[in-house]
Symmetry: C2
Subunit: 430 residues, 2 copies
């Protein structure tokens, strides 16, 4: 049972719609379960956190909040060097995203934008098998560069103690505290605050369905801001026979490795090349059998190779799909990339597998999924900055513009007070 | 019954919390009512739109979508000039917000950000008494400058035909079509599309509770992106006795004119000045009795004058409040403004009443309310742009960085495929 190879064109609506459903995870049953947890944490604070942690994690907490610098860590020097190299690249890429406040004169008045950081942030890091320390770099660094002053990590406690890598990252990133409470109760602690945990007004980072449901519910209530909801990981690859089919197969499998819901979609114009990639996938299943069933489910059920009549059609479909990750490995990558409108992060050329961006190139790996990149961006410095607009109007300009304000406010039925607030300044001196 | 004048300081928690509740409109009953409407429009398209419009608006629609250029308008030349002046200033301010795509070399690789516009936008404009043509400028202009190609206006039909001003604005702003359906059914038409209305992936603009509930529900489902929910209008004013108390009173009343839920909060250090403003409010109620009860309810019930011990305390409270509009009228406006972190739009100096920004200075008047500016921005070009990040990794850099990727992916249990996708490129040539 090889991966489906489908001949497609812009009219194969039924066939393509399957990939365009942009299905979001249904969080309604998780939401029903977390509501009492949120309420308990909101009203009973630390006590509720300690009870839920005993119930769900089987761990008796002495404290729900730790200073990272109070914890000894013992990490291999090579691991440290790897994360420091990643940190340095992620910092360089996000430093380039800094914003300068500006002002200019428009119609006689000084107008401008002042960029200011959000006040506080929690970054959630899942525990157990889904330990992704790289996501801590991706969540914290852009916020630090934006100037967010209060940053805490929320992560489930572990029987054997917190992983050294998480603690060490919090130390070098100067994270203010680690909240050792996982799941919906951890998110509630971040959103509402407790006796020993300050509330934060923004929460980012991946987690299970309960974490996602809690974030989404609290954001809907206007209590916190969140990153875009994280769905299954996806890659779209636009490639032709100038690419190495074995490498393409590896890249597809590195998405499949995330879970059977993940998808890898290859868009090409060459059927022979499609077949070569399909064969390489089969060889890889033999050569690297770890998590085989999961990878096969992802590839056979949620992935596909689509053969389009032209590269323009491939680009068209990629823009419809708005993939989380897009790889371009063709004879003319720049031409293809110039036509890309919607994608989370783009990986150009043969030496840019997604794994490079996942870990070390410097781009952010917290990206919109499920077609979200048609309207949303990856996590970046802008995620944590706001534009405060401002204006200083001169007396002359106010006098010149008053007749216009008068007409406009009359039309909107707001002339009595809006109009007067301008008029009074034309008539009197300060 | 004058406006409450309250002596406050950073410890008057109970008193101040009242202004910090950031209460959002409860949309749950409106949401229950709109769900069947959304479903009907999704499944039955134009037919449902025509039925609901007959039912709710008492109007028999021949067509649910109009080309603005197909409609004759007759508008006073002076009104046109006023809106053209506003348009020109709003365009100038938002042109300054354009983003240039960029790339730079980081650790040997080309990394960058490409800015691309969202694919499509609907701007909702309420009808009837709440006709705010200025909001059409504010919604459409930033999207046009961002490069959004497909922009439609959604607005309720009127028995006497669409207002000339709305149609004319759509003509000069080159809006692609006018959808003449209001309420939740109009929002559903924009979000799902129908036989004669293309779907749009983003919807902005103010509306009643049903419009707000529909936008919020559809955004929660991941079907559309929206601007931040619009609550009652608010102004916070930091002023001292260098300001004209009559002008301050006018500015407070121009918020009150929006509705009795609106609030105007004056922060000052001088009790005498507070009393002068209070007296000016009373005089204004006599002098300008239009909408008196509404204005008085807003001022007496939802507004206040808070007298703090120092200007630093005033600034502290303003940042806690994160007001939609902030006016600064003090002896040293620049010093105060330099400490402002959270506000939607700031109006600096004696000649910058909020009405100038509402209509004509050039800043956007679609702003976060209910403390939203602690984490969100006003509408701007960035609202309609996404950052597509990209990287092109060199063979040399991939070889140098592979050992780091190997260690990091091992730590995350993703070395088999993530690690291999990099390793294979170090071993073979293309």
């Amino acid at each position: 049972m090889p991966i489906p190879i489908l001949r497609s064109d812009r009219n194969s609506k039924k066939e393509l719609d399957r990939f365009l459903s942009g299905a979001k995870e249904d969080l309604s049953s998780a939401t029903a379960k977390i509501l009492p947890i949120l309420e308990a944490v909101r009203t009973r604070g630390d006590k509720a956190l300690i009870e839920y942690t005993e119930k769900f994690d089987g761990i008796q907490l002495h404290s729900v909040s730790l200073d990272p610098h109070s914890i000894q860590t013992d990490l291999n020097q090579n691991v440290k060097e790897a994360f420091l190299r990643a940190k340095s690249n992620i910092e360089a890429f996000h430093e380039a995203q800094r914003r300068e406040s500006w002002s200019r004169t428009i119609d006689g008045n000084r107008l401008g934008v002042k960029y200011t950081p959000i006040p506080s942030l929690s970054v959630y890091a899942p525990g157990g098998k889904a330990l992704y320390p790289s996501s801590v770099l991706m969540g914290v660094i852009p916020a630090k560069i934006a100037g967010v002053k209060n940053i805490q990590l929320i992560t489930p406690p572990q029987k054997e103690g917190l992983p050294d890598i998480l603690v060490w990252l919090c130390q070098i990133l100067e994270v203010n505290r680690i909240v050792t409470v996982g799941g919906a109760q951890g998110i509630a602690a971040g959103a509402y605050g407790t006796e020993s945990i300050p509330k934060s007004e923004f929460i980012v980072g991946p987690g299970n369905a309960y974490v996602a449901a809690a974030k989404s519910y609290l954001a809907g209530q206007g209590i916190i801001g969140i990153d875009s909801p994280a769905g299954p990981s996806e890659v779209c690859i636009i490639a032709d026979s100038s690419a190495n089919p074995k490498w393409i197969a590896c890249d597809m499998l590195s998405q499949a490795e995330h879970g059977e819901d993940s998808s890898a979609i290859l868009l090409t114009t060459e059927e022979d090349f499609a077949k070569e990639v399909s064969e390489e996938l089969e060889k890889a299943f033999v050569a690297r059998p770890k998590r085989l069933e999961m990878k096969q489910n992802s590839i056979y059920k949620n992935s596909a190779i689509l053969v389009f009549p032209s590269i323009e059609d491939c680009i068209w479909f990629s823009n419809e799909l708005a993939p989380e990750h897009l790889e371009i490995q063709t004879k003319d990558n720049e031409s293809v990339f110039s036509k890309i409108e919607h994608a989370g992060s783009v990986f150009i050329g043969p030496y840019s597998p997604v794994a490079m961006g996942d870990y070390i190139s410097g781009t952010n790996h917290i990206l919109p999924t499920a077609r979200g990149s048609r309207i949303y961006s990856s996590l970046g410095v802008d995620t944590f900055l706001k534009r405060v607009t401002f204006q200083e109007v001169t007396k002359e300009s106010l006098q010149t513009l008053y007749p216009f304000v008068k007409l406009m406010s009359e039309l909107e039925g707001l002339d009595e007070e809006h109009g007067t607030s301008v008029k009074v300044r034309t008539e009197e001196s300060l």
